[in-house]
């Protein structure tokens, strides 16, 4: 309980003056003996002046520091989880085809040979006799996964998913990698499918080997990822699921490739803002 304030009359008798000065001195003695006391870090600083003691409550920084350190440990643990997730996302993003315009004349593939897969595994619907050579150029990184539009012996242009078996980035499922020359290299893996889109009925046609060269191939095509493993569309659980569009607008063999909307591999402004906050 706080001490009551001193009355402070302007005029005092001698006796009153003695009492007033004595009380002042007594209170001064209490003040000069004030103690500072540590309290909870969440407490409010407070000055207490009672009839026989004075204390000053001071929130403890030591406890606060310990609490902060605990929080920092939790934050570091959460950061580690975030970094692992970011690494997963980066790997998944590295496996996707690059966006942009592809021209058949600028590509990629040189010869059609049979036999070895060389330093690569490839999987897909082997509609024709195309295979991959070790000097194939990835559309994208030299390591990890890429996609290529390949001119086949029948003059069709097929989309294949190819995967390098050496390098820094490995496929998520190691079983997808097969030894050179393995028959599995040609058949059993997941695949990329192309289906022509009908804008009138808003439906896709059946899977086709590729996109025809010249004017015949003009149109819009959906690219679907089909897998033998437990990978399904994260949104609706289907397999195969659409991953992109290819548009061929003219008779020239130029293919416009676009990912579906809300591409998680594209960092948008909102993500950047979140990172800044973190």
């Amino acid at each position: 309980m706080s001490i009551p304030q001193l009355k402070n009359p302007k005029k005092l008798s001698y006796n009153e003056l003695r009492e007033q000065v004595s009380e002042l001195a007594r209170r001064m003695n209490i003040l000069t003996d004030m103690r500072a006391v540590s309290i909870s870090p969440t407490g409010t600083p407070k000055f207490n002046f009672s009839d026989d003691s004075a204390t000053l409550d001071v929130p403890s920084l030591e406890e606060l520091t310990e609490l902060t350190e605990d929080c920092e440990e939790e934050i570091e643990a959460l950061k580690a989880i975030i970094e692992a997730l970011e690494a997963d996302i980066a790997q998944l993003c590295s496996e996707r085809p690059p966006a942009g315009s592809w021209s058949a004349n600028q590509l990629v593939y040189t010869t059609v040979t049979s036999g070895s897969c060389g330093g690569y595994s490839h999987y897909g619907q082997q509609f024709n006799t195309a295979s991959l050579a070790t000097n194939s150029t990835f559309l994208g990184s030299n390591y990890g996964n890429g996609y290529a539009i390949i001119n086949t012996s029948s003059a069709l242009t097929a989309l294949y998913r190819i995967q390098r078996s050496t390098g820094d980035i490995f496929p998520p499922d190691p079983l997808q990698l097969q030894p050179d020359g393995s028959s599995s290299c040609m058949a059993i893996f997941g695949s990329i499918q192309i289906k022509k889109y009908n804008p009138v009925t808003m439906t896709f046609g059946s899977s086709q080997p590729g996109i025809s060269a010249g004017a015949t191939g003009i149109g819009v095509y959906g690219v679907f990822h089909r897998t033998n493993y437990n990978r399904v569309d994260p949104l609706n659980g289907t397999n195969p699921y659409q991953i992109a569009w290819i548009t061929k607008e003219t008779a020239d063999d130029v293919f416009q490739y676009n990912f579906l909307a809300d591409d998680p591999c594209e960092e948008d402004e909102e993500d950047e803002e979140v990172e800044e906050v973190i």
């Binding site: 003056l17 000065v21 007594r26 001064m28 003040l31 003996d33 500072a36 540590s38 000053l56 001071v58």
Partner: protein
């Protein structure tokens, strides 16, 4: 080292009253000049009233 308490006689004479008033005023003036002294966050807070100065050791994040 803290200052000694003021001795308060039961029935002070005029002379003693003057001395009391003088000492109280002097100490009040010292109190008015109290200094906050930042100390380590792991130190305890402490109030020190010496004859010529008063200070409060206050833990701070950047205290020495």
């Amino acid at each position: 080292m803290s200052i000694q308490k003021i001795e308060i006689p039961e029935n002070p004479s005029y002379q003693q009253l003057q001395e009391l008033q003088y000492e109280v005023t002097k100490r009040m003036n010292v109190l008015l000049e109290i200094q906050i002294n930042p100390v380590s966050k792991t130190s305890f807070p402490k109030f020190i009233f010496a004859g010529t100065n008063a200070k409060l050791n206050m833990p701070t994040l950047n205290g020495a």
